[in-house]
């Protein structure tokens, strides 16, 4: 009888000991988890803050940072108001498919604009900054806006053609500001007028906001082509053919 009781208490003690150890282990694990979770959260919050601060989208643009001669907030409509058809384009100066689209349709569109057959509504954006080492995409758009602001829509159109004809390849260093200034002058802008605008990248915040507006318009890539409000789809070849058919 006594033996059995002793054995029982031994078992109990062993069990209690094990439970005690388990409890200690759990506390220790909770501490470890807590410490690591806190560390991870601190790092994550810091990264989040860095990331969201880097995004200046939507920041207000003063009058000196807003291009002149725009039609709406973020577009320029070129052509005679009597022209029956409207082609709306979303384009990025760094986008190679836009270059192809321009090569296929640019001269015809410009002739049709001059003939009063069509209006072209240019929505230029810049989301391909990472495709060059010098943020070419947004600098080129800034330069185009400098031309539009100082020399008007026709000069903008010329700059637009020159920029696509000389588009730097993706992954390259793009072209320097001095070249953008040359193109601007070639397009008809006054050198002394555009130089500070291009070197100072003065429309940069407007460019960021214009790009965000494209996304809010439901457009997620370039080139996106609308003919009289009708989206021409993701195949740029089809879109180009439809534009050419319209101009015939």
């Amino acid at each position: 009888m006594a033996n059995k009781a002793r054995q029982q208490s031994k078992t109990e003690r062993a069990q209690a000991l094990m439970q005690e150890q388990k409890r200690k282990e759990r506390t220790r694990n909770l501490l470890v988890v807590g410490a690591v979770v806190v560390a991870v959260l601190i790092i994550a919050v810091a990264m989040y803050v860095v990331s969201s601060n880097k995004d200046t989208t939507g920041k207000a643009v003063g009058s000196s940072g807003t291009p002149s001669n725009l039609t709406g907030d973020y577009n320029v409509l070129i052509g005679k108001s009597s022209a029956p058809d409207t082609v709306k384009l979303y384009e990025d100066f760094q986008c190679p498919i836009c270059k192809e689209f321009e090569a296929a349709t640019g001269p015809q569109l410009q002739a049709a604009i001059a003939d009063g057959k069509v209006k072209v509504d240019y929505h230029m954006v810049a989301f391909l900054d990472r495709a060059s080492t010098t943020n070419y995409s947004s600098r080129a758009l800034n330069a185009a806006m400098a031309v539009l602001s100082t020399a008007g829509p026709d000069a903008f159109l010329k700059f637009h053609s020159i920029a696509y004809a000389n588009q730097p390849t993706e992954g390259s260093a793009g072209v320097p500001d001095s070249t953008l200034i040359q193109w601007a002058v070639q397009a008809g802008a006054d050198e002394s007028a555009v130089t500070p605008l291009i070197n100072g990248n003065v429309y940069h915040q407007w460019v960021v906001n214009a790009t965000d507006q494209m996304s809010k318009d439901g457009v997620n890539g370039t080139p996106t082509v609308f003919i009289n409000g009708q989206n021409q789809g993701t195949n740029p070849q089809t879109a180009a053919n439809n534009v050419l058919a319209l101009l015939k």
Binding site: V33, I43, S51, R130, S215
Partner: protein, 166 residues
């Protein structure tokens, strides 16, 4: 054996998450646009989600690669892949033309139908890896093994690290 499969699952999911997060981190505005492109979330939270995504991916990626909180990270990762699969399928069904933005490219793919299918197939594979880690979180070369050595015997009879055999 399961522990080696688990290691592989950890490295695959963790590696993909880490790379996806890193490639997106430098373009927060682009991430916001990528999230908006799905037209699922309300505009009021789109920027927050866009800014938070790469950070979350990087954290999950690193924790999975080092093997810390494997089960929890497998769970979170799995939930994200379910959300991505729903998002991509829904965009596909609605005929939206989007790039998934998974690796931070903003353009529209040349053949969106095919791209949708590839993206979904990839996400299902990654989801399965994540589910594996939720079921069998004990894996080779994981920090979990150091921090929580006496992780109790796993329910399927697989043993803890102290007695494990290769």
């Amino acid at each position: 054996m399961k522990q080696w499969v688990g290691l592989l699952a950890r490295l695959i999911v963790g590696g993909v998450d880490l790379l996806a997060g890193l490639s997106k981190f430098s373009d927060p505005a682009g991430n916001v646009r990528a999230v908006r492109a799905f037209r699922i979330l309300p505009e009021s939270i789109v920027p927050t989600v866009g800014h938070a995504l790469p950070t979350i991916e990087i954290m999950i990626g690193i924790l999975l690669i080092v093997g810390l909180f494997t089960r929890a990270m497998g769970l979170v990762s799995g939930l994200f892949y379910i959300a991505f699969i729903i998002g991509i399928s829904s965009a596909w069904a609605r005929g939206l033309e989007i790039n998934c933005g998974c690796f931070g490219n903003g353009g529209v793919p040349a053949d969106p139908q095919r791209q949708y299918a590839i993206d979904i197939a990839r996400d299902i594979g990654l989801l399965l890896c994540s589910v594996w880690l939720v079921i069998w979180p004990r894996t080779k070369f994981a920090l979990d093994n150091l921090l929580f050595p006496s992780y109790e015997r796993l329910p399927d009879g697989e043993q803890g690290p102290s007695t494990v055999q290769n």
